[in-house]
């Protein structure tokens, strides 16, 4: 009580009584959460419906009543059906192979190049950096056509290599790591040189470990982007056994032709789960990595 009487003169201009301000605060809190929860419901609806449909028997899916929890638990049958009629684990494995391969080559090529751009002097450095900046503006769909023609001529369609090759170079990684390396102290590099370390050792044993946060964020960014990419796999892959998760899901849902929603949502759950679980466990890393283009 004494508190309010002391602060009251300070805000004398506003006719707030303690009860009134508490009421207003409650109202504003109520409105805030009402808006946020409405939005959250809109966001969560597909996830919720995916989960409950994946444990519903066909007759409950088809009688189309607005019932959330199934009368009969049919989850086992739906998930078994999804796993036996489509090679879902194979899709996931393909996703891991492709994303892993892309990421390794991206790091191996981008890190030394970024170091050279940040710390070494060589002819054509500015030109190379301009090319990198230009490359940032070219989306994957633009070089797709010529690369497709080249792969078709070399008879390389329907291979892991075809799925990975347009993404081996990440100009974004070069740009990002260059920014990061520029702030690395020159004194340490000079000291390492005096100790007789080669530039190769300096890059991989001194500078790279210091950039781990940026590398981890980029790894998340790259992995999520290529795990979810549909455009390029759709173009170069027609063999079901090579399909990454999005393309595999598309094959499966075309095959089921929208009839067996129980099994379809079970498949969707299985294919969405790995990234969602990873996200829930490493939330900060994920958010940082995926939105890095903007926040950094």
């Amino acid at each position: 009580m004494t508190d309010t009487s002391i602060t009251a003169p300070a805000i004398a201009g506003t006719p707030k009584t303690p009860a009134g301000s508490a009421g207003r605060r409650f109202a504003s809190l109520f409105i805030t959460h009402a808006i946020l929860i409405t939005g959250a419901a809109f966001i969560l609806l597909p996830f919720l419906w995916m989960l409950v449909t994946s444990i519903k028997p066909p007759d409950e899916v088809f009688n189309a009543q607005l019932r959330i929890w199934p009368k009969h638990f049919y989850g086992f049958e739906n998930y078994a059906m999804a796993l036996t009629s489509a090679p879902l684990l194979r899709f996931a494995l393909n996703g891991i192979i492709v994303c892993g391969g892309i990421l390794i080559i991206q790091l191996l090529t981008a890190i030394p190049c970024a170091y050279a751009l940040a710390k070494l002097k060589f002819p054509g450095r500015n030109l190379l950096f301009v090319l990198v900046l230009l490359g940032l503006c070219v989306p994957e769909q633009v070089p797709a056509l010529p690369i497709y023609i080249a792969l078709a001529k070399m008879d390389l369609l329907n291979t892991y290599f075809a799925m990975m090759v347009p993404f081996f170079l990440s100009v974004f990684a070069i740009f990002l790591f260059r920014q990061f390396f520029r702030s690395f102290p020159d004194d340490i590099i000079h000291a390492a040189r005096l100790d007789g370390m080669s530039e190769f050792e300096i890059v991989w044993r001194i500078v790279t470990p210091s950039a781990m946060p940026a590398i981890a964020a980029f790894a998340v960014f790259s992995f999520v982007a290529h795990w979810n990419d549909l455009y390029w796999p759709l173009i170069v892959i027609s063999d079901v056994n090579l399909a990454p998760p999005p393309l595999g899901m598309m094959f499966f849902s075309d095959a089921e032709a929208g009839t067996n929603y129980g099994a379809l949502t079970a498949a969707a759950t299985i294919l969405t789960a790995p990234l969602l679980l990873a996200f829930l466990f490493a939330r900060r890393r994920f958010i940082e990595g995926i939105t890095m283009t903007g926040v950094k």
């Binding site: 504003s28 030394p112 060589f122 969405t272 939105t291």
Partner: protein
């Protein structure tokens, strides 16, 4: 020019050192440069070359046709429709996702205990494998089996075929696009909000500027300017590149009402194999993206140098 810059002013023991540095740097940059040439520059050159030919996949030889493809594109009613559909899609998704995400970010920003919960929920669509979620959306919006129709029936409105009605299909895809994008933009706005000093709000309160809306208009909105600019540019690019929803949910239909630019490029190039014509369309696509991207690079560069 940078060669002289190295050797002239520095009195280090010799040109040998500088020579080695250039050699090493060249070695470091070479793999990336090679890939840059092979996967970006050469394809761009080939694309430009093909634009002036009549090449179709499988052709043994090709002929120079001048500007024929370009005039064909500019007069092609299907292409015009695709461009119009894409811009309409952007016109819905851009304001929708930016305004909603700004609202959510401002409201979430001041929550303490529930903040991370809301962050997780709104970010879920960004991390989920969208093609899988598209199947779920298809079911949600199914005119006879979906829960949305069930609610509409219960309300007495009746069933609505969201994805097979030509005038509703594109707006429906746009709503799904907003669903995908809100969480991403929210995080960008939250990052922007965290840079606004708290004392500004306190100062405003002392000055008698106490209302929520007042504070938003006098402090938050002006200081969020650069962030908002950035969100608008990235959202435009994302929306302009819409493809997945169309490819999975509507295949460009009904009656072409959702055929967007990138889907048209995909059809011409990789379904009909009319490579020359697809090259021209790709270039038009690139021009739009370039305008957005140059803006983005300028904004990003400025943010990095702060």
């Amino acid at each position: 020019m940078s060669v002289t810059a190295v050797s002239a002013p520095i009195a280090r023991p010799g040109a040998r050192q500088a020579f080695i540095e250039r050699l090493v740097a060249g070695g470091f940059a070479l793999p990336a440069l090679l890939l840059l040439v092979l996967t970006i520059l050469v394809p761009l050159g080939v694309l430009a070359y093909l634009s002036f030919t009549d090449y179709e996949l499988g052709d043994v030889d090709l002929h120079y046709v001048g500007l024929q493809n370009i005039t064909a594109a500019l007069t092609d009613p299907e292409f015009r429709r695709a461009l119009k559909n894409t811009l309409l899609y952007v016109a819905i998704v851009l304001p929708g996702s930016v305004i909603l995400s700004l609202l959510v970010a401002v409201l979430v920003h001041r929550r303490k205990r529930t903040r991370s919960l809301y962050e997780i929920i709104y970010f879920l669509p960004v991390t989920s494998t969208f093609i899988a979620m598209a199947t779920v959306w298809q079911f949600l919006l199914h005119p006879s089996l979906g829960p949305v129709s069930a609610v509409l029936r219960w309300l007495g409105i009746g069933e609505i075929a969201f994805l097979s009605n030509p005038s509703l299909a594109l707006p429906t895809l746009a709503v799904i696009g907003i669903w995908q994008l809100v969480g991403f933009n929210m995080i960008l706005f939250l990052a922007g909000l965290s840079t606004i000093p708290k004392d500004l709000y306190e100062a405003a309160e002392i000055d008698g500027c106490g209302g929520e809306i007042d504070r938003f208009l006098t402090i938050t909105w002006p200081l969020l300017g650069p962030t908002t600019m950035f969100v608008i540019v990235t959202s435009s690019i994302t929306a302009f590149k819409v493809f997945d929803t169309v490819a999975v949910l509507t295949h460009g239909g009904p009656v072409g009402s959702t055929e967007v630019l990138l889907y048209k490029v995909y059809l011409e190039g990789f379904q009909y194999f009319r490579m020359a014509y697809a090259s021209v369309l790709t270039f038009i696509f690139l021009i739009f993206i370039l305008v957005f991207s140059i803006l983005q690079t300028v904004v990003m560069d400025r943010r990095v140098h702060y």
